[in-house]
């Protein structure tokens, strides 16, 4: 049963601490997306990668957020230092680019981050 796996499912941290969220995309998928969901803003794209190279990170606050793909089986989203306004659900999604059709995204279950 292929699925996107995100860890941890829940994270509570204190303001100023570093937070790292991890994502294992579906095997064979070449595209990974990071979305953030908040009550106020809804679902927003933070960044996405194709073949491990960043294609669009315009939605990500550059001063504290960073996203990487150390290898094809792992994507990470790091926040340093974390702030209460970062509290949200962070979704990873993966997909396979199909010529002329783009990439259909399959979502993980999300990491609920609470910064106190």
């Amino acid at each position: 049963d292929a699925r996107v796996t995100q860890t941890p499912r829940h994270k509570v941290t204190e303001m100023g601490q570093e937070v790292t969220m991890r994502c294992q995309p579906i095997l064979g998928h070449n595209t990974v997306f990071w979305y953030r969901q908040t009550m106020m803003q809804g679902l927003e794209l933070l960044a996405y990668f194709r073949n491990r190279a960043p294609l669009d990170d315009s939605g990500m606050p550059k001063d504290r957020f960073s996203a990487e793909m150390p290898d094809a089986t792992l994507a990470t989203l790091k926040i340093q230092p974390s702030e209460p306004r970062d509290s949200a659900v962070y979704f990873c999604a993966s997909g396979l680019l199909r010529q002329g059709r783009g990439t259909e995204a399959f979502f993980g279950q999300g990491t609920r981050l609470t910064v106190v």
Binding site: G42, D56, S58, G59, L97, R101, G102, T103, F107, Q109
Partner: protein
């Protein structure tokens, strides 16, 4: 910029009845994709149905169907024979095909669907 609007923050339906969720979008593109995602309390985002803008035929997946009106930029979701398991947040989303541009999904704010037994 593309925008997606869901004008119904909440809807309710009786079990076994039919309900329609509304979605409108704004774009200057002629080719694009539209989606409905379901988010139950588990938080998992589940793809319910997709529509390719160049296809005139409305997409159907079992009890779920869409009414795609391209000229009106409207994309509503009809759920027939509603079941208790259909209770969830439903998000309408838009995406352009990959032609060198961003593939981000643009989401509406969602509609919370309650199914009454």
């Amino acid at each position: 910029a593309q925008t997606v609007t869901q004008s119904q923050p909440e809807m309710s339906v009786q079990e076994a009845e039919t309900v329609t969720l509304s979605c409108t979008y704004d774009t200057s593109e002629s080719d694009y994709y539209l989606f409905w995602y379901k988010q139950p309390p588990s938080r998992q985002m589940i793809l319910v149905i997709r529509q390719e803008a160049y296809k005139q035929q409305n997409a159907t997946e079992n009890r779920f169907s869409v009414n795609f009106q391209k000229a009106a930029k409207s994309f509503s979701l009809k759920i027939s024979d509603s079941q208790l398991g259909d209770a969830a947040m439903y998000f309408c989303a838009y995406r352009t095909p990959f032609q060198g541009g961003s593939e981000k999904l643009v989401f509406g704010k969602g509609t919370k669907l309650t199914v009454n037994p």
